[in-house]
Amino acid sequence: MAKKLNIKDKYRLLTRDLDWEFSYQDRSKAFPYEAFEGIKITDWSKWEDPFRLTMDAYWKYQAEKEKKLYAIFDAFQQNNGHLNVSDPRYVNALKLFLTGVSPLEYQAYQGFAHVGRQFGGVGARVACQMQSLDELRHVQTQIHAISHYNKYFDGLQEYSHMHDRVWYLSVPKSFFNDARAAGPFEYMIAIGFSFEYVLTNLLFVPFMSGAAHNGDMATVTFGFSAQSDEARHMTLGLEVIKFLLEQHEDNVPIVQKWIDKWFWRGTRLLTIVAMMMDYMLPNKVMSWQEAWEVYFEEAGGALFKDLARYGITMPKYADIIEKEKEHISHQAWWTFYTHGHAAGFHTWIPTDEELDWLSEKYPNTFDKYYRPRWELAKKLEAKGERFYTSGLPMLCQTCQIPMLFTEMDNPGEISYRDHVHDGERYHFCSDGCHDIFVDEPEKYVQSWLPVHQIFQGNCGGPDVENILSDYYRMNLGADNLDMKGSPDEKRWKQWKGVA
């Protein structure tokens, strides 16, 4: 009878010993992506496996978790769980999540599957393979968690199609395309380290605690279920950076450059989370500024202190971001409010109580720079002229966000940067985005900027309405426009029996 293996032996055989020696083939041809980024790996056996899981244990463990998760989804649906949310405005945060974030889980699945093939070290390959499967499970479970809302609310039905086409969704989409088009090591610093380790708490925690504060038990349960996976992803992110820095000192400046780039790219992307926290959650968790201080300045500050012994310094532009934390949520929600005709979710003027909460949370900036915008919006709405801005905005070539950010030494003035490459002028929202372009212009000249694509006639038309309904597949009058008077609002009132 075969001897039963102990856990340690089983782990060794099912991970490290899966690899083989290349006796008659050139090893570098088997791993063609490993060298071109300039990263030097001297000894893959120094890789510490962060997961310590074998594949059979992974399946068993995840199957148990998902059985419980789907039992709760079932109960949620049977009991009309959507009626327990704090306010129908909340569901718009889910629309943004499903169209903007869930498809990134799918891109992460593809990205980790790719690097999980390309690394020469078997430990790293197995870890990336498992994270890849996690990401695929996450996109599936998110779709299933939110699908119940799709039966009762507008704006959720074409999330995947919209992710590929809608103007503001080119921001998250191009972020991940940028990471996946990089080499495997940059991808790991971009997604594994900068995003999963440094910034993930600013994405995941706000959405999941936002769900908890607003009575959305389906999303909360998904959050709990994903938490143990997220903890493993963070461990992988940290292992990657320590491994690269310990392998060779020549790796240090390359890694620093990637940290600078991806920290900036990540914070620009998190602008939508900032806006979600400050404006879209009817029951607030904390302000974006508070979240930034807890999850980046305190936790991230300690991390970078720890990395200082390798010669790694705080990400470039951290000083700008420290100032921007008092501004970006307001600038972003104003952008969506004024483009509410072209958004796949509803927008609204904050209530008087919410405006006062914002003044209290942002004493240095809200009353001076942002309250006047809402006073003007209210005045126009009262006249029956709800403000939807005309025309199409100028976009940043790198992050693809409209040029809505302002100068931090003069927050009333839009921040303009430009650069001429090969006779062609390019525009940027910030020094961060400018510098990323200048470092690799041949990559970012290819940005698929939605506004320019519309002008080239590649998105249907000719009118904005045709583009929204035919090319983006928005149900005009249902998915877009103000919360006030929307079908979502009408149905909610009927369910609740209020006039």
Binding site: P32, Y33, F36, E37, G38, A182, G183, E186, Q331, W334, T335, T338, H339, K368, Y369, P372, R373, E375, L376, F387, T389, S390, G391, L392, P393, M394, L395, P402, M403, L404, T406, G412, E413, I414, Y416, D418, D422, E424, R425, Y426, H427, E440, P441, E442, K443, Y444, V445, Q446, S447, W448, L449, V451, H452, Q453, F455, Q456, G457
Partner: protein
């Protein structure tokens, strides 16, 4: 290095080359101290368009929704083109003004500083 690529001498396709816009130039307009408009706006315009037509036809489309728009004295308006101060005449064409593809105009209107003077 223009890009970190696995292929030697990799070059990217310029997605927004002038040739892709059917003879128009993409031109951006921003109105300083009027953040009712969250960002500058983009327009595809023919290079032969005169600056007078820009003021009469394009400016209302871009900024006509602002309560101060009707108060603008265009003779006193201050312009920059790609960060350089310019004083365009109404009969000058965009081309003659030195406007090229993806040029950016910024407008300042002395005395008009946004809704109730707040820069909005």
């Amino acid at each position: 290095m223009p890009v970190q690529a696995i292929t030697d001498n990799y070059t990217g396709q310029v997605m927004d080359a002038k040739a892709n816009f059917g003879g128009n130039l993409i031109i951006y307009f921003g109105w300083d101290e009027h953040l009712m408009f969250c960002a500058p706006k983009a327009f595809p315009l023919p290079p032969q368009m005169t600056f007078g037509d820009v003021i009469d036809q394009i400016m209302p489309q871009a900024f006509g929704q602002h309560p101060e728009f009707k108060d603008i004295d265009w003779d006193k308006a201050q312009w920059t083109l790609n960060r350089e101060a310019v004083s365009p005449a109404r009969d000058q064409s965009l081309e003659a003004l030195g406007v090229d593809h993806k040029s950016c105009f910024r407008l300042r209107t002395p005395g008009l500083t946004g809704y109730k003077g707040t820069g909005v």
